[in-house]
Point group: C2
Chain length 226, copies 2
């Protein structure tokens, strides 16, 4: 039997690359997107397209009204998305406990599927301001997960795969390009319009654009601003 | 300034007691209930009553359609709730990754509130079959949480309080009774009716009923079966 993996899929560039890596490693992928009231709903449409294009077995969207807590420019409409380039420290686009919550939901599905592998596209290089993108966080989550579940009690240990954690954006793009990812299907922009067109000026667009330039691979993204 | 605490409140006996303990320790309580598609919606109504009665500052309900994953008699209507007494091993009423998910949501709210304390009513004595009710799970979650957040990066450590973890049901009831908990407001039953009346025969009802008998405190619960 082919091994199963739950893959957290946002619809952005990073998680599309992770899905391609899981496929290359021979996993049957069960993709999970979390609709946590983010502004960029276009990402969820992108996630569906990417899951289909990459041969995922299933794609589920789970709704979670975490935006009621506020605290992030990505879920709270009273906070503006910065468009003047990255500031020092942890950005206002940080969503409280986001990776903890997404990994917990993936853990629940993995447990029901009887699957011992979770893939997540966290990256410590380009998002150094996010505490839950660091390797020590991923290891601590894995240790906790291995005490949390029925399967763990029975000795079947779960592994959290974070294959992008040490890669630059350019390396990620080169990897995905080699594995056949169509980045034209993905949306990274924090304020994409309904057609998925990118603003070109938010931090996520800047990272993506610079990543394509450094990688030497043509950028298929349609930017509204240049 | 009084310290704030996020208190996970299900509407059952245990979490009502925890809320009373948080109040006794001087915390301002922000109560969080998770509507994860459980059968016993009456518990959520109970949670609101308990939060109001115990002077909580705020009570939020977060909706999460985890029932789409299936796997538990509490969220999947195709699995029957057992009524013939506890079976060996992990019960079918176990909800995959439930405590991990609920603590993650509490963590998100705590982060937005700038609060360093989370209270949860897990108990290792009467629920020995649930992996995520063990002290080692709580410690591992706390360690993970202290790597996950902005506040943790800034050195403000979070504490997960699980004050019931070593108590018997009778001890929990005696504690709550001393602190003025009105257990008539709470609902423990896995299949309570819309008025919150308990079946009297599910594992949760059996634990509750036996707990009251052992505690010597009168049981205010209305049971449909005797």
């Amino acid at each position: 039997m082919t091994d199963r993996a739950v893959v957290l899929l946002s619809g952005g560039l990073d998680s599309a690359t992770v899905l391609a890596m899981a496929r290359e490693q021979g996993y049957d992928s069960y993709c999970l997107s979390v609709d946590y009231g983010q502004r960029h709903v276009a990402e969820l449409a992108a996630a569906s397209r990417v899951a289909a294009a990459m041969g995922a077995i299933e794609h589920r969207v789970i709704h979670l009204d975490i935006n009621q807590f506020g605290g992030s420019a990505l879920t709270d409409r009273s906070i503006d998305v910065p468009v003047d380039g990255p500031a020092a420290g942890i950005p206002v686009t940080y969503v409280p406990a986001r990776n903890t919550i997404m990994l917990s939901l993936a853990l629940a599905w993995a447990e029901v599927l009887g699957c011992r592998n979770i893939f997540v596209g966290v990256n410590a290089v380009d998002y150094s301001g996010y505490p839950d993108c660091r390797p020590e966080f991923i290891r601590a989550f894995e240790a906790m997960a291995n005490l949390a579940t029925k399967a763990a009690v029975e000795g079947k240990l779960l592994r959290i795969h974070a294959p992008l954690i040490d890669l630059t954006k350019a390396d990620i793009i080169r990897t995905g390009d080699r594995l056949g990812v169509d980045y034209g299907l993905t949306v990274s922009c924090y304020q994409a319009d309904e057609q998925g067109r990118a603003c070109g000026v938010c931090d996520s667009c800047r990272l993506r654009r610079d990543g394509f330039i450094s990688s030497g691979i043509p950028d298929p993204t349609v930017y509204r601003h240049h």
